[in-house]
Symmetry: C2
Subunit: 113 residues, 2 copies
């Protein structure tokens, strides 16, 4: 299994971030990880909303988020600990991630009503 690739913050592209977060499953995963007080495993997202996600798809989604520079994944025993890279991204693209998270929250709130 090849080691996981994480781009250096200077190589993070806006295009990749927007693409990664333009998928409903990925944005839900990312918002959750960004808001969580501690690292999240992949299988914590075996279902997103009421939709079950096959684990091969889940693995691909995490890869997209990782390679976009949005999260960092580290193996810890049998599982993977995923944390957001928000602080780094905030340095590179100030306000971008908070605005997206807020927009996601607004939409979720509107749907719930």
């Amino acid at each position: 299994m090849r080691p996981l690739f994480h781009p250096s913050i200077d190589d993070v592209r806006l295009e990749a971030i927007l693409h990664a977060l333009s998928d409903p499953v990925r944005v839900a995963i990312f918002v959750d990880i960004a808001g969580a007080p501690c690292a999240q495993t992949c299988q914590a997202f075996a279902s997103v909303g009421d939709r079950a996600i096959p684990k091969s798809s889940l693995s691909q989604h995490f890869k997209v988020l990782r390679e976009a520079g949005l999260i960092r994944s580290e193996r810890q025993g049998v599982e993977m600990r995923n944390t957001s890279r928000c602080p780094e991204i905030q340095q590179r693209f100030p306000g971008l991630i908070p605005a997206i998270i807020e927009a996601h929250r607004i939409e979720a709130a509107a749907k719930a009503a």
Copy 2:
């Protein structure tokens, strides 16, 4: 030719906005339209940067931007006047578009250096 569809602002989805702007040609077009003092035609973007865009592709790109709710297109004689819907989007997703435009600017500045 079917009339152009513009979503009502309440139907604008974050997912669609991020997807629309996750393409380098589209984000360049959008940033330009958003920053322009007056409406822009489609063929003003017959080339983006140094890359020529076939007009069928250009038409598709404008359709994606339009249906995501990012721009409004109105026929004016033989051409199409495209304007951004930034003020409306600002109401729905405050700060989202400015943050993306700023990130795009940062990246363009870094590439130029």
